[in-house]
Symmetry: C2
Subunit: 380 residues, 2 copies
């Protein structure tokens, strides 16, 4: 497997395609692969047409990388677009259909003004229902957080602890959007966005791209001396609207995808050493830990607050800085999570390298839980 | 395999989801399958976010059909979105990953005013290049037609003959958008759109949905006593912009997908008995016949004009009425083509049933040739 990423950030001089091509070329170089070897191409992208006015994005990007003729397919699954593209690429390789499959995830968001960005993001929710009633994703996740507080005693300090940890990790990541450590006090005093969420509970609006190349394990030695093995991958779905869910403090799609990926990998959740979780809002990281079985339900908040998911903790979460501080170019996020697992597994994560890094998990969530992709990677 | 479609047309009272659900439910009924049996779900949709302001469309539709939990994936490949979704569903079944896979294609276009529809469609082309310079798809295909006339002596009468034939076929199709036969004179005197193309050379802006269910052949008897076999499917890609193509009178992606699908099916193009071809403009049907090898290059125009592709001809093309007259709800088109092949192969095409109907081909084109999916179906 090869991996490559752009830095994440606000890049007024870069367009969608140049970001995708940069990540793709870094990935080809990393895998020692030339474009003509790629047999199938996937593009994970959420809303290129709305953000930059270009649709039909898969061949638009693949041809710019010099990948010609082969199937080039765009997958859209809201914020899980990148993870879903990875899932489909893995299906092709695992089933023996193609050997070398490339996945690029990309989003160019910062060219639109913030209110328009919110509108575009809201299209990942139920627009005829909750969004028409005035909801945004921040207000939906605020309701989720409030309910989690009510049911389990989760505190604002617990949410803030997620932000503090992820900002600390991003400060060590040269490719992160926001390399700024913050204190618990700062996080708690952040500008209110949707009570109880402050600015520091929300992920960033970013530009960026990430890419990976998959190959059958028996051919991995042709491309790398540090192969990373895909042990399990699963995609699951659920209702878009919160009012259709029986309980908004748990996401059935995350539970299902997590269980299936663990079963495929032959591991239990407790054995996972580290993870990149979809912290679109701080509460989402807490719930993901619970839904994946890292901790019992309701125990996610204290677990973070006590430091168990820090770089030095028993199970580091979002060593990259997460969506919170590494940044969240929507379509790139799921692929970037895979790149970040690869970096750790290969021992190439620099200042944020963790000691136990042979079994990692990525969880990529779409909307308020209507799509989830969970991937488990390990040292080969 | 099961198949189901809505009528195609302008339906001001219907939203995207209700169309998709109608097609999906007809298809489930046709296949004698209940939603809980579906193991994977694909949605082919081009521009739902722009047309109706809703993204994250795969779980939005699948959950409304009662399909819960399983992977629900939206594929966007411009006008080939439906065909590409079918290709990926076929991959999963052929590789033995899942047994029962459902594909729904849908587009709701008529809620936007015509100039906005043209803008949205243009996003399937190269927006930073030819589209910014003022092109629309009509003007691009006009250039293609003009060049085909110059190189091969194709005449306006040849283009018009495509429209006359497809309108005649649609007049026999109760689900067609425009059930109106036209004369060659009418077609030639149509309102000019982009010279040499008139109104009658252009496909329709429509609302509609189509759905199919795929299963392994050895299980087909559980679901139908008229199984249809998928003999070959291939997807190919190429540059978006015409100025990047060496020759605009041929589409490399069509040739490649056609050759691969024929090779997989173990048939030659000459053996194909009938076909649904992507006649977004009349010239596209002529070039598709040439690129697929039904006729030598440059001979498509006279072949249509002489009646060989009429219902009574040696190789009927677009017995459904095609995009021209059946209608072209973009994301639905590629799936609807499959449904129309199924109808003919099963001998259920009513007044437009053709006598030789055991080996059919569907060709679904994205943009001005950047994506193509070719599928070959036969009686099992």
């Amino acid at each position: 497997m090869g991996a490559g990423k752009t830095a994440f950030g606000a890049f007024p001089d870069r367009d969608l395609r140049s970001l995708a091509v940069e990540a793709g070329e870094k990935c080809l170089h990393n895998a020692h692969v030339v474009p003509s070897q790629i047999e199938s191409f996937y593009l994970g992208n959420f809303a290129g047409p709305a953000f930059v006015g270009q649709n039909h994005l898969a061949p638009y990007v693949s041809t710019a990388l010099g990948i010609l003729g082969v199937p080039a397919t765009r997958i859209e699954a809201a914020c899980a677009s990148g993870g879903s593209a990875f899932f489909h690429a893995w299906l092709e390789v695992a089933a023996g259909i193609y050997d070398l499959v490339m996945v690029v995830g990309v989003e160019k968001m910062t060219s639109q003004p913030t209110p328009r960005v919110s509108e575009i993001l809201a299209e990942a929710g139920d627009c005829a229902g909750e969004m028409r009633a005035g909801s945004t994703f921040a207000s939906l996740f605020a309701m989720i957080a409030r309910r989690h507080m009510h049911d389990f005693g989760t505190k604002r300090e617990h949410l803030a602890a997620v932000a503090v940890k992820n900002h600390a990790n991003a400060a060590l990541n040269p490719e992160a959007h926001m390399r700024k450590a913050i204190t618990l006090e700062q996080a708690l005093k952040g500008k209110p966005i949707a009570d109880p969420l402050t600015l520091y509970d929300c992920s960033l609006v970013s530009d960026g791209a990430a890419a990976v190349i998959l190959a059958p394990l028996e051919r991995a030695a042709e491309f790398t001396d540090k192969p990373v093995r895909i042990l399990g991958v699963a995609q699951a779905s659920d209702y878009l609207a919160l009012d259709q869910k029986a309980d908004i403090t748990t996401f059935p799609a995350v539970r299902r995808a997590g269980e299936q990926a663990c079963q495929m990998a032959g591991v239990t959740a407790r054995e996972i050493q580290f993870a990149e979780l979809h912290d679109c809002f701080t509460i989402a990281e807490i719930i993901a830990m619970e839904d994946l079985g890292f901790v019992p339900r309701g125990c996610g908040g204290p677990y973070v607050f006590e430091g168990h998911t820090a770089l030095t903790g028993e199970r580091p979460i979002n060593t990259s800085g997460g969506l919170k501080a590494k940044g969240h170019p929507v379509g790139a996020t799921g692929v970037a999570q895979i790149c970040d697992l690869v970096l750790q597994i290969r021992g190439e994560a620099g200042e944020r390298q963790i000691p136990r890094h042979s079994l990692g998990l990525a969880e990529n969530l779409g909307g308020s839980g209507a799509t989830c992709v969970v991937s488990i990677l390990g040292a080969a």
